[in-house]
């Protein structure tokens, strides 16, 4: 049975179901209760579950993220909401020094079944402290799992998958996707963590992307298709672990690679993908790999400047042309 709902509603439905079926699940973060969530994800949940399970916190990112880790260590299944990725840096000590290391440091004794959700990405004219895409940067950290739902189905499925996972999972929700609509089928088996999904089959170019850039890539693929260039579009879904197999099998098929990512290029997840392809499929390449990423500036406020900084459909199409020229 499927229905058309928003990305926001899909996350809310997943949280609600998890809380109904498991008393260990609770939601904690800034303004998740009375306010209803800064992006209105948790609207109505306080009324349904009460203030003991929908917990408004003070502005203490390190304190309440660490509390999530402690509660996870002590038998709970907490969902910690951090308003944006930029605020999560106030909790880096807890995420990196405690959540990511505890199982290993303790010789396998203490796992941390914690879910941290946060908004990411630009396009809302929120300037340089609310707009960056730093999920790829978190993917550097061993011990964490990094999920990037693009679709309504994944927004729903990934919350459930993350809650079932015994280890710390970070979910990055692109702020511009909350209002997007899509189909949700709650009966279908979710695609597991660590598996990419091929959204569009193609023989000429592999476009590897995730998050909101999936939709820009699909749009660009339609334009390229009209010109006779068939692009395969892969949604990575999970940045750590990353699905090398799906990437490499697409590269073997198309021999041309274009990576689209809202993060910056330097020291990035797009660079990591290129490195893996170099290591595992270098001789399959017919042209130098291309990337469409954000321009390396702290995000500007002015609309025209911000749009110029972001990956856009035209830039993806142009990169597709460049790839096909290199023969």
């Amino acid at each position: 049975m499927s229905e058309i709902i928003t990305y926001r509603e899909a996350i809310r439905a997943a949280i609600r179901e998890a809380m109904q079926s498991d008393e260990r699940v609770f939601l904690m973060g800034e303004d998740v209760g009375k306010y209803g969530g800064s992006y209105a994800v948790s609207m109505g949940l306080l009324e349904e579950f009460g203030s003991e399970r929908i917990i408004d916190t003070p502005l203490s990112e390190s304190g309440f993220t660490g509390a999530g880790i402690g509660a996870a260590l002590n038998g709970m299944r907490p969902i910690v909401e951090i308003m944006t990725v930029n605020f999560s840096f106030l909790a880096l000590d807890q995420i990196i020094n405690n959540a990511a290391t505890m199982l290993y440091m303790s010789g396998g004794q203490f796992n941390v079944p914690l879910v941290i959700r946060m908004a990411t990405g630009g396009g809302n004219q929120l300037g340089a402290q609310h707009s960056h895409s730093l999920e790829g940067w978190y993917a550097h950290i061993t011990g964490l799992k990094i999920l990037t739902p693009a679709t309504v189905q994944d927004a729903y499925d990934m919350l459930h998958l993350a809650l079932k996972d015994p280890d710390p999972v970070l979910i990055f929700e692109h702020a511009l996707l909350y209002n997007s609509k899509g189909e949700l089928d709650t009966q279908v088996a979710p695609i597991p963590i660590g598996k990419a999904f091929v959204y569009r089959q193609g023989k000429d170019i592999s476009i590897i992307t995730y998050g909101i850039s999936l939709f820009k890539s699909l749009e660009a693929a339609d334009i390229l298709s009209k010109e006779g260039i068939e692009a395969e579009v892969i949604d990575l879904r999970s940045l750590r672990p990353m699905d090398n197999e799906t990437i490499m099998s697409s590269v073997r098929k198309t021999n041309r690679v274009l990576i689209v990512d809202e993060g910056w290029k330097s020291g990035s997840i797009s660079a990591e993908i290129m490195a893996r392809i170099n290591e595992q499929a270098f001789y399959e390449l017919d042209a130098p790999m291309q990337r469409v990423c954000s321009v390396e500036v702290p995000f500007p406020y002015a609309h025209h400047l911000e749009q110029a900084a972001l990956p856009q459909v035209e830039k993806i199409v142009a990169a597709g042309h460049k790839l096909m020229e290199e023969l």
Binding site: S62, A71, M105, G108, P166
Partner: protein, 324 residues
């Protein structure tokens, strides 16, 4: 004060075990059996021993990188701790943690955490879980006075008080954050006063007197359970040795160290017994012999321990690799 001789012997025994264990660690460090950072607990033994006496088996313990004493007082096998310090798979963290990261699920010992103040938010969450699940437990969180300067200290005290969580905050004020004296780092040097600002019951207690420590911790746990609220105790203490084995101690005066050594917790206990004519019942020599042999056994065990196979290096990064 009425002294129970069996209780006194038990405290002395445990403090002596920590003292001799730490002295052995120093020796093993100089012979390069123990590597990395090594922070000794010598001088502060009364706090771990007194507080652990107040803890029940269901309570959770969170400590710092200077935690050998807490681990021993909590009842983790000396063998398992020593094996950990020698990097052996028989160690309480399988040799993955080392001196700063002792863990033990059986005794609910959650580290061994080496980021100053990083354990306080965890204590908030552990206690929150107990409160939500209506379990009659307390989380006991140890840290030094250096933690007071960190933001996580303030966030955690506020959350604990705001949410009325069953936490015993144990601040071991040994006057130095590594080499930085308290008066050089805090505008308000009475840490209990600082904690009171968060609406938490907070007191200063002599950390060199194990009886005073145990009594204050027991009273605090009763109070935590009665009032459903955290309690904060600042124990005044001193470390007799350097911060770590790399510390030349340029920042403190030798006369200050000597002055504090007069308050050695082992001597304080002995003097107390002698002043009540119980001194002869302590059986010091017997305890000394027993402790020395336990430490020797631990060293033998650790030296004979196994080095984990390098094939297992990546095990335990994720739970899929945990053998169920």
């Amino acid at each position: 004060m009425q002294i129970d001789i069996n209780q006194a012997r038990s405290y002395y025994h445990q403090m002596l075990l920590i003292r001799r264990f730490e002295e052995k660690c120093m020796e093993l460090y100089s012979h390069e059996f123990i590597r990395g950072f090594l922070h000794l607990y010598i001088g502060q033994e009364a706090i771990a021993v007194g507080v652990m006496d107040a803890a029940s088996a269901e309570d959770a313990i969170i400590a710092t990188y200077r935690e050998h004493g807490h681990a021993l007082a909590r009842g983790i096998e000396p063998k398992a701790i020593m094996a950990e310090l020698l990097g052996k798979v028989e160690g309480c963290s399988r040799g993955r943690g080392g001196s700063m990261h002792l863990f033990d699920a059986k005794t609910r010992f959650y580290g061994g955490l080496a980021i100053v103040a990083g354990g306080l938010p965890l204590a908030v969450g552990m206690a929150l879980a107990d409160k939500m699940m209506k379990r009659d437990r307390v989380t006991i969180c140890f840290f030094g006075e250096g933690a007071v300067a960190e933001g996580e200290f303030h966030e955690s005290l506020n959350l604990a008080a705001l949410w009325k969580l069953p936490i015993l905050f144990v601040c071991e004020n040994n006057l130095y954050a590594m080499g930085t004296a308290l008066e050089r780092s805090e505008s308000e040097q009475n840490i209990a006063t600082k904690a009171s600002a968060y609406n938490i019951t907070a007191t200063q207690v002599d950390g060199m007197d194990v009886f005073a420590v145990a009594k204050s911790a027991k009273d605090a746990i009763v109070q935590i359970k009665e009032n459903s609220a955290p309690v904060f105790i600042e124990y005044l203490t001193y470390r007799f040795r350097a911060h770590s084995m790399f510390d030349a101690e340029l920042y403190r005066d030798k006369t200050e160290v000597e002055k504090w050594k007069q308050k050695d917790p082992l001597a304080v206990l002995k003097n107390k017994l002698e002043s009540t004519d119980l001194g002869s019942q302590l059986g010091e020599d017997e305890l000394e012999q027993e402790v020395v042999s336990v430490v020797e056994e631990a060293v033998e065990f650790a030296k004979n321990g196994t080095l984990e196979s390098i094939a297992d290096l990546e095990k335990f990064v994720y739970s899929a690799e945990v053998q169920q």
